[in-house]
């Protein structure tokens, strides 16, 4: 259980600035998810904490001890930072057996042989791989290799793990299972985990807290899954964590209009959440309902039945939006392509418009 603090971290590769002035505090015993689109610097954060790259600015502290400080010229080498790391490609050494892979961190710390064996077995138990200690990595499946990687990371440090896309290379079913196992493991051992992924759903399922990185490497939002879903900090977060529609809107004469090819009034008052006269309305497909009384008229362009729900693409003048309806409720009704419908908008959000 360890506290991890990053302060003012800047990393650039040549001209390209990957992380700018990043500060982050991770409480002990938490799983924190670092989520963002590819190329936003997620892995760079992990590599900086591990000591594989040297930031140009900032401080990194683990458990109150300075691991890196540009100002004080401290840069502890990776082998002395005592972090368990799980890599996306497993990074299991192919020339060593499962046992030797897991025992390696203990050997490097100079533990006597008789202490190594019980610890390796303990780690193998944690990941349900006891029967495989004599296997070579090439004899294991992807999921098994990833378990070995986790066991090795645990013997390296059961206090603080960094997992960089640990399940991306596994198939969907196994991913689900591994997520559950990682969660159980963490709760049992109280390990602090930094979990890096581009998959926001996995992060929400697993993590206590999620850090969403914007494409420019800055932090877009930090919060629990609920906070992020209920109160996305900005348009990027809203767009990143789920399917979304964006419609430009404008206020005119005390009414709210969709600002499309023609102005379509959709509210007879100024929405409370909106500021200014121009904005971008963001809404999830599930939050749009068909309402024959609505002044907003549209045509169904495409209707797809997904089993538990209908997925519609609906055409407004100059724009197509996505609408989803539950298909299994009593009053579920299906609409066919070409049909004219009225749309009502619930739970809409307002973001800044670029041309405002």
């Amino acid at each position: 259980m360890e506290k991890v603090e990053l302060e003012g971290i800047c990393v650039s590769y040549g001209e390209h600035m990957v992380l700018r002035d990043l500060s982050l505090k991770i409480e002990p015993g938490q799983i924190i998810g670092i989520v963002g689109p590819s190329g936003c610097g997620k892995t760079t954060i992990a590599r900086a904490i591990c000591g594989f790259i040297k930031p140009q600015q900032g401080t990194i502290k683990i458990d109150g001890k300075t691991m890196f400080s540009h100002k004080d010229r401290v840069d502890i080498p990776p082998e002395q930072r005592h972090i368990g790391v799980v890599f996306q490609d497993y990074a299991i050494w192919p020339h060593l057996s499962v046992y030797d892979n897991i025992a390696y961190p203990l050997k490097k710390r100079g533990l006597p042989k008789e202490e190594i064996s019980p610890r390796v077995h303990y780690a193998l138990e944690q990941v349900n791989m006891v029967a495989y200690e004599k296997y070579m990595p090439s004899q294991l499946s992807g999921g098994q290799q990833q378990r070995v990687a986790i066991a090795r990371a645990l013997t390296s440090s059961s206090d603080f793990l960094i997992m960089d896309e640990p399940i991306t290379n596994l198939d969907a079913k196994l991913r689900e299972q591994m997520l559950v196992e990682i969660r159980i493991l963490q709760q049992r051992l109280g390990t602090t985990i930094i979990y890096i992924t581009h998959d926001q759903e996995a992060a929400m399922q697993l993590c206590d807290k999620i850090v969403i990185l914007a494409p420019d490497g800055s932090i877009a939002q930090i919060g629990s899954d609920e906070e992020i879903i209920r109160n996305p900090a900005n348009r990027f977060v809203f767009q990143f964590i789920g399917v979304s529609n964006f419609i430009p809107v404008v206020i005119d004469d005390g009414k709210a209009f969709f600002d499309l090819e023609k102005k379509i009034p959709y509210k007879s008052h100024i929405p409370g959440k909106m500021t200014g006269t121009k904005a971008m309305l963001g809404i999830r497909p599930m939050d749009i309902v068909f309402d024959e009384d609505s002044p907003v008229r549209a045509t169904v362009a495409q209707a797809i039945f997904l089993g538990n729900m209908y997925n519609y693409f609906v055409r407004l003048p100059g724009m197509e939006i996505r609408v989803q309806q539950i298909a299994i409720s009593e009053n579920a009704k299906s609409y066919s392509e070409g049909q004219e419908v009225g749309l009502a908008f619930l739970e809409e959000r307002y973001f800044e418009r670029e041309d405002a």
Partner: protein, 574 residues
Amino acid sequence: MFSRAINRDLAHLEGKGGFSLDRLMIILCYVALITVVILPVFMILYYAFWDGTKIDIAMFKQVIFQKSNIRSMWNTLVIGVFSTALATAVGVFFAWLLGRSDIPMKGLMKFLFSIPFMIPPFLAAMSWDMMFSGRGGYVNKALMSLFNLTKAPFNINSVAGIIVIEVVYYFPFVYMQVVSALERMDPTLEESARIAGASQLYVIRRITLPLTIPAISSGMLLVLITSLSNYGIPAMLGYSQSIFTLPTMIVELMNRAGGSFEGIRQSAALSIVLVFIVSIALLVQRRLLTHGRYDIIKGKSMRPMLIKLRGAKYPLLAFSLLFLSLIVVAPIVMIILVSFVKAYGLPFLAKNLTLANFRRIFVGNIMVRDSVKNSLFLAFSAASFCLLLGTMLAYVIYKVKPKGGTALEMMAVLPYSLPGTVMAIGCILAWSGAFFGITLYNTIWIILVAYIARYLSYVLKSSSAALQQVHGSLEEAARSCGASHMQTLKDVTLPLIKPAMISGFFLVFLPCMRELTTSILLYGPKSRTLGVAIYQLRINGQIAPAAALSVVTITLIIICNNIVKAITRDKKRG
């Protein structure tokens, strides 16, 4: 679980301005390459254009326009062009036959093709000389008595003879390139032409051939470059008739000079001419390798449509087997036979056979015993050094990736494209007291330095190919597990590239065992190599003992070759 004991010194060691392992390796690489590669090359330029006080181009001009030198340039070009053209024709023919036709016994033929690579070119030339020498070659004599001729029907000691032997020796280069291209070519390209109604010959001419042109031309240039810088074959066959090529002329000038400044300068100047000619060929090769690739040749293997030879099948098979056994088996048989004959020239009858040649070279001859010892020592130490330096270089270039990485790589592969003769001249100039008063000339060490420079790129290639397979995360995982940089190299990186390192070692060891081109210029009274010993025995007319020593050499090479195969096969199975 573990206390975070932090070693301040170590932290600073890895920090800015510190002296890290990476930096140490980079510096070592630069020092080694500058010493081994750059100094000799620089010295050649220096001697060719510097007369001791000022830049001097007059001497260079004089060397270029000297009649005997022009003659040797002409010979080099003629031999290069003709042997390339013929070797290409033969190579493409066999590649097509084995890659695209249904000729039987392909396995046997493929094995025969690999044999010329095992026998050093000068040994092959020597054996051909024993058969077809104008003065008493065994085959010539047999033909003369058979047909009652008064003159030898063949004279291998001629430009034409040199060309023929180079063709025989080099056509497998073209064959290998083309056959692999044929194997990787999408067979549907040919099939669709047949379906569209094209005849067999039309398909070969308009589809198959154009698609393999990149492979053909790269094999062709390989032959051209090797031929231009080859020393062994023209030396063995041309020397007695005073037929010189540039490499043999350089050696001749060096020998005639007897250490005089002017003579050394002349061979340096001629070396530059040779390098110039070879680099034109290299530039063309580089252009061809980067441009003009057809994407239809894919990396994966496909089963090609085999062309039925029908009636031509068995005649072609007979011809191929005859040709291959003549050019591959005959020279070996000849050398073995001569090694057991009492005196060269005697017919191979039971009463003329003896083991005395073997006894003579091993018991009575210190020079020969020394040469076996020297060659083993040189091959072993050059291979070890190359292994160390080449692997370190590969690590620096592909893992550390310093700013000057490309420069390092270029320096390391430079000697590979320089003719061995030129490299040897450079070594003489650099290590005869020019730098820090170090004189290695006439010792075994100068040969070692030259071998390391020449063969370094072999290890660099095999090790870097393996290193590029070792993903960075494997090393980082070890660091995070508490291993220092050095321990990571020892525990993870090196074990993972071990098979490539072992084969890299033998890639250097084998050619060193049979080396002649550089050693002939660098040997001293006590540092003869196997190649030099054979060459000198042969030149001094001790042909039968030379053959005996050749048999010993070939045996050694075959043993080493099999060791490599055994090791690499074990690795694959494990």
